[in-house]
Symmetry: C2
Subunit: 417 residues, 2 copies
């Protein structure tokens, strides 16, 4: 039975996924490596990869075999503890550190639980936050820089605002950020770490997106988090999120228990994937192909006078368009060439993005540039383009010189859209 | 690499699972049908079944094949919408009803999201609640019958308390209950439905445990919920929870989106399992074997003068022991016979609990009764035993005649333990 509900009429939710210009979800029937097949048999190159969670490629043989074996009951059971769980916990500690580890099914659940646990342990009401930490209502802020009803202060990666709050740290339980390496540089992390250390406020690194993305560990040495969360690069798309860190801060996780805790296929996907991600090899492979694609795309856009640039590197990058109109035209042209991008957000090539795939992708993006040539010669990339790009990918402000007044103006403009 | 962390030293959480008398998790390496294999090669009969979520048996061939196929990338991809998702949404609506459907990874996430959505839609602060709705801190109540800081009132299935709150329903957004069919009877549901209808307050049926447990649909016709949640019987242990109901009440789910939303193995497990659960056949099979086991166990305990009775039927039942000492001795004797029970909670035979397995299980429980014979002839099952049993399995009070004063005494006693 297949009911055509493609437009999501029956669905109460609007899950993030590739959609056409009318908001209708794009449908795919199969995937292999870096390619997806749509119902018409057309092959697309996938840069979305389930919002960056398919890091080894679709249908990866080794992961598929591990999952199949677990599904047959040969690698532990959902009822109870298994050697696979011991293995996963050990791997996580080795790769990311921490006194204790916790497991969840989604980043949203992990972040909410961690935030509640740390707040309880520190017995202070405020959490300073930047970046997206999941769909839970606790994170919803109608305005920036002051506490919402749940005690969350959104500081949008603005270090001046952070410094103001940390000047009187008595009320602050923790600072939680989702590190970004496209729009924030070394200076930002150095200053961030100095401020939080001086105030003696623990840092929660929400590395759901970037943990294990760039190498076999957390994304940067410039942070010294008391608690980390990783998820997207853990299990090649299977629903596993992990938390680690200070045992005292995480004591409140004791009550966390869910029915599928020991579900063997997810554990098998995680141990198999993590073993490979820990080596750094999948990251090197994705980076090599991605870097080549970025260089080619940048040259193609420049050559055709299309006002689009790219931020980031081959592991995780973003198209920055002059304005929304350019962006819409770019996505339409890309879809026509079978390039599947995470619109307005970051692109994340998997290990399956080999030299051959990069070659194919470079050809396609070249034709996209040709299709757009001459259409937007009156536009150029501005500071606003870069701020809008950062806003779309990291839910906050790029680290660029600005006054506090300018900050407020930029936020007002971006928040409105 | 296998690290022996069996005692959970590295784990910040204490997930519910079979444990020995010292609280150490029991480890199993494999499962097939109704049987689990421990590291010594001993075969246990599983009545826990991942807290009732493995309804077709461990390693079920059809589910395993569907999962394996999805893992190879042949049944949609984690990146995008797929025909399998359309199919699952259609199946859920057909089986459980509702204008709209929502999907989650855990019952905890589903219940929190639904509660927040319904509260927003109704713009009233209080939710009256009975039963366990997940580990989220919002449900934690230090005392019964009055609101916690999140507006949750725990009424512990006491209809007098419910009636008092519903006498002035202006503040009440909804009533959420986890239906139980071991300790609550027809009279309870009839009265509950009358009270909520008269007050015009929507009912949220948290059927995470019992939905699809007894038949191919929600657990009872005596409720008329505005919103339902099902989970444990949906996907033979894979992490899928579903929500359905009134589109207006669930409008707030629009923002719910998680990375693994389209993860193909979970969708494949759910469509395959749900197709079979919708027929009612797995429920009939588990019930037949379970009923036979219950009758045999009851006779064996009576014959050996062991003060243990059973509540419920073959789909979901509970051992009710005279007191904690009897219960501990029972669980030790059961473990010695390789009977794996969900201690103090409900037992849930799967479809794999065939006549042959029932025969084996009856032999084992007979030997358990023999081992306990003569040891507890001074004890008997009392009203307190039944209240404690209900408390352990349904987080509330069994429906027995009592005054409001007695209610308070019982709650004080049980809450203390």
């Amino acid at each position: 039975m297949t009911i055509d509900i493609g437009a999501g009429k029956l669905l109460a939710q609007e899950p993030t996924c590739p959609r056409d210009a009318h908001g209708r979800p794009r449908v795919f029937v199969a995937g292999s490596g870096a390619y997806l097949t749509d119902p018409d048999g057309r092959r697309w190159i996938d840069f979305d990869n389930a919002r960056g969670s398919v890091t080894l490629g679709h249908g990866d043989e080794e992961v598929a075999e591990a999952i199949a074996r677990a599904a047959r009951g040969a690698a532990g059971v959902g009822t109870a503890w298994s050697p696979v769980l011991d293995s996963l916990l050990g791997q996580l500690q080795e790769v990311c550190g921490g006194d204790v580890i916790g497991l969840f099914r989604t980043g949203t659940a992990a972040l909410r639980s961690v935030a509640c646990a740390v707040r309880d342990a520190r017995d202070k009401p405020i959490i300073l936050s930047s970046g997206y930490h999941g769909y839970d209502p606790m994170w919803h802020c109608d305005e920036a820089f002051s506490p919402n009803e749940h005690g969350i202060v959104e500081f949008l990666f603005d270090l001046d605002v952070l410094a103001e709050w940390l000047a009187s740290p008595d009320q602050v339980a923790a600072v939680v950020i989702s590190p970004d390496h496209m729009h924030l540089g070394e200076r930002w992390y150095t200053e961030f770490t100095r401020l939080t250390r001086e105030a003696d406020v623990p840092v929660i690194a929400d590395e759901v997106k970037v943990g294990l993305r760039y190498r076999g560990g957390l994304s940067t040495d410039l942070l010294d988090p008391a608690v980390w969360i990783v998820a997207k690069c853990l299990a090649n798309g299977s629903p596993v999120a992990a938390v680690g860190g200070d045992a005292h801060l995480l004591a409140g996780l004791e009550e966390v228990s869910f029915t599928s805790y020991f579900e063997p296929t997810a554990l098998a996907a995680a141990t198999t994937t993590l073993r490979r991600m820990a080596t750094g090899e999948p990251q090197r492979a994705g980076r090599a192909g991605g870097d080549r694609f970025i260089a080619h795309a940048r040259a193609a856009f420049a050559g055709a006078s299309v006002p689009i640039d790219l931020a980031g590197n081959g592991n995780l990058f973003q198209f920055v368009c002059a304005d929304d109109e350019v962006q819409d035209a770019f996505h339409a042209a890309s879809a026509a060439e079978g390039l599947l991008f995470f619109e307005g957000d970051n692109q994340t090539p998997s290990q399956a993005f080999t030299a051959e795939v990069a070659e194919d992708a470079c050809g396609r993006i070249g034709r996209v540039a040709e299709a757009l040539a001459g259409r937007f010669t009156d536009r150029e990339l501005t500071e606003d383009s870069w701020y809008a790009g950062a806003w779309g990918a990291m839910d906050g402000l790029a680290d660029r010189p600005r006054t506090r007044e300018q900050t407020n103006e930029i936020v007002a403009r971006l928040w409105e859209d």
